[in-house]
């Protein structure tokens, strides 16, 4: 072989994978903005107690339905509570519901889907028929059923929302694994002597990641909206605790007389959902080595 291939040559240190993903993400403006919004939301969630100008639960009936003004930036609601403070207070609840419920569903769904897809046969049938049974019932109805069994409260709402979204992840992972496990590189991984777990986690799952990431970020949005729906039905957050969906639900009667009571919590939800979706899109591109270098 030629001299340039000599072993003495110093090894070029490649960019670490994380760095490369980060650079690629930085090139995507939308994703960067989304990341900024999410960092901001997390900041608000952590330091909410220092940021709220008023007690979110302090009701002053004399000040009900004030339009946005210098004193109350987002106005006040039907009970005279400061909407700005309530939205800040609700950030932590909505974010944690979204992140925890999705993480839970993602983990359980991925494991179940991987086992079903990779091993096939009876295991597959048992797992996937259970998933089908869960999918057969409308998710909000199922969540209500879980809530009925678990009791009221935000922590239980998180569990219920997480549980009902497991089947979606399980299905996505199983479907992808079914096609990937037949691929030559998985066969090649077996040929070099890997065991099943290494093959699933190291060789198959990274290939499923892009579709999972997209689904998970969409899932965060769904989880936020589901919490809102549960709150609206009086099952999630208990009044007077401020939660975006609950605020929206309770203000819905005033949509024409005092639209700002709905617009601001609605905007908060939309902004969060949008940010997560945009970040998901960016992440999908950044995680795929093929589109990363373009």
């Amino acid at each position: 072989m030629s001299e340039q291939n000599g072993q003495e040559q110093v090894l070029e240190k490649p960019e670490s994978q994380l760095k490369e993903i980060w650079y690629s993400l930085c090139r995507n403006k939308g994703a960067l903005i989304a990341l900024g919004i999410i960092v901001f939301l997390i900041f608000v969630a952590i330091f909410r107690d220092f940021l709220m100008p008023y007690d979110p639960n302090y009701s002053d009936m004399g000040k009900a339905f004030q339009r946005p003004n210098s004193e109350h930036w987002f106005g006040t609601d039907q009970l005279g509570r400061d909407i700005f403070s309530r939205i800040i207070y609700g950030t932590r609840i909505s974010l944690s519901v979204g992140l925890i419920a999705v993480t839970f569903a993602l983990t359980v769904g991925t494991v179940l889907g991987s086992i079903a897809g990779y091993f096939g046969g009876k295991v597959d049938t048992v797992i996937m028929r259970c998933m089908d049974m869960m999918l057969a019932v409308p998710s909000i109805l199922l969540a209500i059923t879980f809530m009925a069994a678990l009791g009221k409260g935000i922590d239980k709402a998180i569990i219920a929302i997480g549980l009902v979204s497991i089947p979606e992840y399980a299905r996505i992972v199983r479907g992808s694994i079914l096609s990937i496990k037949e691929s030559d590189y998985v066969q090649a991984a077996k040929v070099i002597g890997n065991n099943d777990m290494t093959i699933i986690f190291k060789h198959i799952l990274p290939n499923v990641l892009s579709s999972l990431i997209v689904r998970a970020t969409l899932g965060i949005s769904t989880a936020v909206l589901d919490t809102a729906a549960l709150g609206f039905l009086g099952l999630g957050v208990q009044p007077p605790i401020a939660e975006w969906g609950d605020m929206l639900g309770r203000a819905r009667g005033f949509i024409f007389s005092a639209p700002y009571t709905l617009i601001f919590p609605g905007m908060a939800i939309s902004l969060t959902v949008l940010a997560f979706n945009m970040l998901g899109d960016g992440l999908r591109d950044a995680l795929d080595p093929k589109s990363r270098n373009k």
Partner: protein, 321 residues
């Protein structure tokens, strides 16, 4: 003998019934020997190799002796230790045989760390050594590439580097050159040829390219519908093919010095494995077919150090299977 396969039969259960993809196949490979298995698509070549690796979903029976130990009796864990270390395999599709989400480096080092007791740095050194061996220019740069940044020929070289990184005693090359263009084909075959000299490894070369066989193999097995029809040294086979099927195959190779209007072809189609003709599986397409060919399957008969499964070379009628 390093590898001895005795009466290997692999069956697949299907709705229509059981299909025998590999039927009573026996052969052996010595260290440093290249054994070619040739045959049409669906003749059971690839299933044979996967059966040796213990990776076929079908039901395998018979003996696969590797250094006298039956691979079929090994536990899952023991087989995982043998795969990639003692026995390696190259696939026919270099474009899809590497995982798109991992760097070449990680895929190469994975095998090395899995089977050899090496640190990460030493494994990386060894990976670069292997890439140099298979002739990839500036390997210390290319090792950081992802598979999609490489051409087909390069990927096949990486696959070969991966397969050889632990100095296997036996390499199963399942159509290693089919997806590559002719110049790369020649390079890859030359590489396998050199490496078996250097490392004294046995090679099972699975192919349907008789040109490749003529150039590189020591012995040849001709398979048809899961059975061995003929086995001979490469010189004997090309100089004096015995089985009508082998003759047909050799006659089908177009020659550059021949002025032919039409190319020769073996008439008919390969029968469906689920619906085999009675008697010899080649009887429907054979120019020398006799009555008994349609009733009985001839035995693989040894003549002058080679073997052929055809009634044309049988003295007595009794030699059937």
């Amino acid at each position: 003998m390093m590898l001895e396969v005795k009466n290997l039969t692999t069956e697949f259960k299907q709705k229509k019934g059981t299909v025998r993809a590999v039927n009573n196949v026996s052969f052996s490979v010595a260290p440093g020997e290249i054994l070619a298995i040739v045959g049409e698509s669906g003749s059971g070549k690839s299933v044979t190799s996967l059966s040796i690796m213990g990776l076929t979903p079908g039901k395998v029976s018979g003996e696969i002796l590797f250094h006298g130990e039956d691979l079929r009796k090994k536990s899952v864990k023991e087989m995982q230790d043998i795969r990639g270390d003692k026995i390696s395999m190259i696939f026919q599709e270099p474009m899809t045989s590497l995982n798109p989400v991992h760097r070449i480096k990680d895929q190469l080092c994975e095998t090395i760390i899995r089977h050899m007791d090496l640190s990460k740095e030493d494994a990386l050194k060894r990976a670069i050594e292997m890439l140099t061996l298979v002739g990839i220019p500036s390997p210390e740069k290319r090792i950081n590439d992802y598979p999609h940044q490489m051409s087909g020929g390069m990927r096949q070289r990486v696959m070969i580097a991966m397969a050889l990184s632990c100095h296997p005693e036996l390499l199963i090359a399942d159509e290693p050159t089919t997806a590559l263009d002719v110049t790369i084909q020649a390079q890859i075959m030359e590489l396998i040829y050199q490496l078996r000299e250097k490392l004294n490894m046995g090679v099972i070369l699975i192919t349907h390219d008789l040109g490749v066989v003529a150039e590189s193999a020591d012995r040849v097995i001709v398979m048809y519908c899961g059975r061995v029809l003929e086995e001979a040294s490469v010189v004997d086979l090309f100089a004096n093919p015995k089985h009508p099927y082998t003759k047909g195959l050799l006659a089908s190779i177009p020659r550059i010095d021949d002025q032919q209007e039409r190319l020769y072809m073996i008439r008919g189609m390969v029968p469906n494995l689920a619906d085999m003709p009675a008697g010899c599986s080649f009887s429907d397409r054979c120019d020398f077919c006799m009555d008994k060919c349609r009733q009985k399957m001839p035995k693989l008969k040894e003549v002058d150090g080679r073997a052929v499964r055809c009634f044309l070379y049988h003295d007595e009628e009794e030699e059937t299977e």
